[in-house]
């Protein structure tokens, strides 16, 4: 069966309650992903604008982030992207059990991601770093956590420079929390969606001739992964 007759066959299947059919659902999904990218686009654009304005403090603040944890999460998400893709492939070949296992693994990995994030966030809070407000920094020169004031004192900044520096540090963490927070929200949503899909699959809902929602769910998860792949270097690596 060629790809196009396959699509036709799917379109005609009564399970398709949405009138646009398989192709319509896919088009809708891509449009939706575009709106998601725009949502993050605003944050990225703002980040770059302020990055240019507050180069020094952004650099200093970025050192406080834990590259190991960030890296770990990157690996976690990449693996989860693979498992969700395998899950889709499995259902397309009619292997429902296998597909459910893959979905389960993906969900577990998403959970892992959130746990790591939880540790990262609480470490920040512990050092009195909140959105828009940071009192601690990592001092590159002596490799230790010091208060922002100490940091400023060590570098002999004038009062004006110091005020600017503080604003920059605060803004960096604003962006850090906003962007990873919104992303985290997407992880939770994605997890929920995949979980519902897995439940429905258990109920026999999807099969090798009807798997549009599985495909769209997987696409969504890839997006969540993709956005992280941009966030990770932006915050953790580039200085």
């Amino acid at each position: 069966m060629s790809a196009s007759t396959h699509a036709l066959y799917r379109d005609k299947h009564p399970v398709h309650e949405e009138l646009g059919g398989y192709e319509g659902a896919k088009l809708g999904m891509w449009l939706f992903l575009a709106t998601e990218l725009l949502l993050f686009g605003v944050l990225f654009a703002l980040f770059f604008i302020f990055h240019g304005k507050f180069l020094e403090p952004f650099k200093a603040a970025h050192h406080t982030l834990d590259k190991v944890m960030g890296g770990l999460n990157t690996v976690v998400l990449i693996v989860s992207s693979l498992s969700v893709a395998l899950g889709l492939d499995a259902i397309q070949r009619g292997r429902r059990k296998l597909s459910m296992i893959c979905m389960g693994i993906t969900i577990a990995l998403a959970g892992t991601f959130l746990v790591v994030k939880y540790f990262e966030y609480s470490e920040k809070f512990h050092h009195h770093i909140f959105p828009g407000n940071a009192t601690m920094l990592k001092d590159d020169a002596v490799h230790e956590i010091v208060s922002v004031d100490d940091y400023i004192a060590r570098r002999n900044m004038g009062p004006e420079e110091a005020a600017d520096f503080k604003k920059g540090v605060n803004l960096f963490f604003t962006f850090y929390f906003m962007m990873t927070g919104v992303h985290g929200l997407h992880v939770i949503i994605g997890m929920t969606v995949l979980f519902i899909i897995m439940l429905k699959m258990g109920g026999g809902r999807y099969s090798h001739w009807y798997y549009t929602p599985v495909e769209n769910g997987a696409l969504y998860w890839h997006l969540v992964d993709l956005i992280w792949i941009y966030l990770f270097p932006l915050f953790y690596l580039i200085s």
């Binding site: 949405e18 009138l19 319509g24 088009l27 709106t35 998601e36 828009g132 407000n133 803004l171 604003t174």
Partner: protein
């Protein structure tokens, strides 16, 4: 759902309240939207009349400054977010789009219903702000919106939620147009209204997320004091303006493009002429949509921009004028030598062309840097955007409501009553807003509660006009509401239109058509005047 009997109209099926509230029929959803937005239109209009009454004389007359700001903000925000943005797409668009392309429904009927409820929830959230009403103006500019003691967050949160409804409608339409056109309907035969809806949908999908995120950040800013827009914390309020207008300029086209679409449908029918320059009219909608993304800066000429970027934005703005001018030109060419039938929809359409031309011409004054610096934030701007939004979009909506009325309801409105309503609107509207051009040129700033005595004459004329204007809406809507239930029965296609949506029973069955229709060769082929009769397929001129 699809088992409906084709001889039973959609109005007869599922008539209970629950039947309506849980319907996935695009026509019923459109009608629910229609009643809802018109309710907000009347509320926001009432606020406007109070604002105008306050301005009848200098000094405090009926309300104090604070209340004035609140009324003005409510009026502007409700008109924009509750009424005109969902406006035509969610009402006439919802009802007509599937019918015009010969489809049973939109691509995602349940999403369509959901968009209605999302809109409703957003509207309710926005109305909560009335407990301590916002006084910032509908643009929520930082830093004032960060400081104002009122419930601005609720208003912005409401706008944010309603944004989702708008996105849902937009992408439902895009998918529907791509996937569900009936046999024979190629892109180059697409009705002009559909082209307009297509362009609008693209704007809805691409612009709304940006303002959504911007409003979220404004909310965060107030709740967490994060500092992105607050200069005291290193932020930049101008960024708010940039992102706000990146959406809100295209929004102007979300407001007006659907109106263009309606006019494009009505003019050929009532002048019995093929539309002049079909392709130019169709593609100019897309062109407008795309250009509108790169001109937002013209709202910020005076809020601190580098000289060269002002220059660029001013220049780019002229590009929007080109496709718009193409449309006006083509409409006039369509009328030229046509045999014009002056029935209500046509009167509204002609009113639209007249008033929108004034809006367009005065818009040029605002796009030109030198004159804008002079006119910025004066009553000239107020007059200009009311000519666009009310003289343009609202009048187009009313043109459409009259035109498709027999199809939606199966009944006729009274032609005489419709005429008087139109006349009242036309006179009242121009009396209200034309004087404001003079006010603006003489330097009367907008959003002011008080003014110098020298401005009083124009203000008084404008206020008197606003009563006639407001009265006309009550009259017109009252008449239509009455006719919807008591009007005489309509014949099937009273205007002998060739468009597909008329080729079924009126009102249509739930599935729109008894059988999947085939699209006619052309729907604008009214022949020429020499033909003497409608629907000649032989002498198609200009295409």
């Amino acid at each position: 759902m699809s088992h409906a009997d084709a001889s039973v109209s959609y109005l007869q099926e599922g008539r209970s309240v629950w039947g309506w509230l849980s319907t996935t029929d695009h026509k019923k959803i459109g009608i629910m939207y229609l009643y809802t937005i018109l309710t907000f239109f009347i509320l926001a209009g009432a606020a406007a009349l109070l604002v105008r009454l306050e301005l009848i004389a200098p000094g405090p007359t009926i309300v104090d400054q604070q209340v004035y700001n609140i009324l003005m903000t409510f009026h502007g925000a409700a008109m924009v977010f509750l009424f005109i943005v969902p406006g035509i797409p969610a009402t006439l668009g919802n009802i007509l789009l599937p019918m015009m392309i010969g489809a049973k429904d939109v691509a995602f009927p349940r999403l369509n219903l959901m968009s209605y409820y999302v809109y409703l929830v957003g509207a309710m959230i926005a109305l909560i702000s009335l407990l301590s009403p916002a006084d910032t103006g509908w643009t929520f500019y930082a830093p004032y919106s960060l400081k104002s003691g009122s419930l601005v967050i609720w208003l912005t949160l409401g706008a944010f939620v309603m944004g989702f409804a708008s996105i849902m409608t937009g992408f439902n339409f895009i998918v529907t147009i791509h996937r569900m056109r009936c046999p024979g309907l190629t892109w180059n035969k697409l009705p002009l209204f559909i082209w307009a809806m297509y362009a609008t949908s693209i704007l809805q999908v691409l612009a709304t997320p940006v303002v959504g995120m911007t409003l979220v950040m404004l909310i965060m800013e107030r709740v967490l004091d994060i500092g992105i827009f607050n200069p005291a914390k290193g932020g930049d309020p101008i960024l708010f303006e940039s992102f706000f207008w990146f959406y809100s300029h295209p929004v102007v086209y979300i407001m007006i493009l659907p109106g263009f679409g309606i006019i494009g449908e009505i003019l050929p029918v009532f002048s019995r002429r093929p539309i002049f320059g079909y392709k130019a009219v169709a593609y100019s909608s897309l062109a407008i949509a795309l250009v509108s993304f790169i001109v937002w800066g013209h709202h910020m000429f005076v809020s601190g921009m580098s000289d060269w970027s002002r220059w660029v934005f001013s220049f780019l703005t002229f590009f929007v004028a080109v496709p718009t001018a193409i449309k006006i030109f083509n409409w006039i060419m369509t009328l030229w030598k046509g045999s014009i039938h002056f029935e209500a929809p046509m009167l509204y359409a002609l009113g639209f062309v007249f008033m929108f031309s004034i809006a367009g011409l005065t818009g040029i004054h605002l796009a030109v840097l030198v004159t804008d610096v002079q006119l910025h934030d004066t009553y000239f701007v107020v007059a200009h955007f009311h000519y666009t939004m009310q003289g343009g979009t609202v009048v187009a909506l009313f043109a459409g409501l009259h035109y498709w009325f027999p199809m939606f309801t199966g009944r006729r409105y009274n032609e005489k009553m419709a005429f008087w309503g139109w006349l009242m609107l036309f006179i009242g509207f121009n009396l209200t807003f034309f004087p404001q051009f003079f006010l603006g040129m003489e330097g009367m700033p907008r959003r002011y509660f008080d003014y110098l005595p020298q401005f009083q004459t124009w203000h008084a004329i404008s206020t008197v006009g606003s009563w006639l204007n407001g009265g006309s809406y009550i009259f017109i809507l009252g008449h239509l509401l009455y006719a919807a239930f008591r009007g005489e029965k309509a014949e099937q296609n009273p205007y002998q239109s060739l468009s597909l949506e008329w080729q079924t029973t009126a009102p249509p069955p739930t599935t729109n058509f008894a059988h999947t229709p085939t699209f006619p060769e052309s729907i604008y082929d009214y022949g020429t005047m020499d033909d003497g009769h409608a629907g000649g397929h032989s002498q198609r001129k200009a295409g």
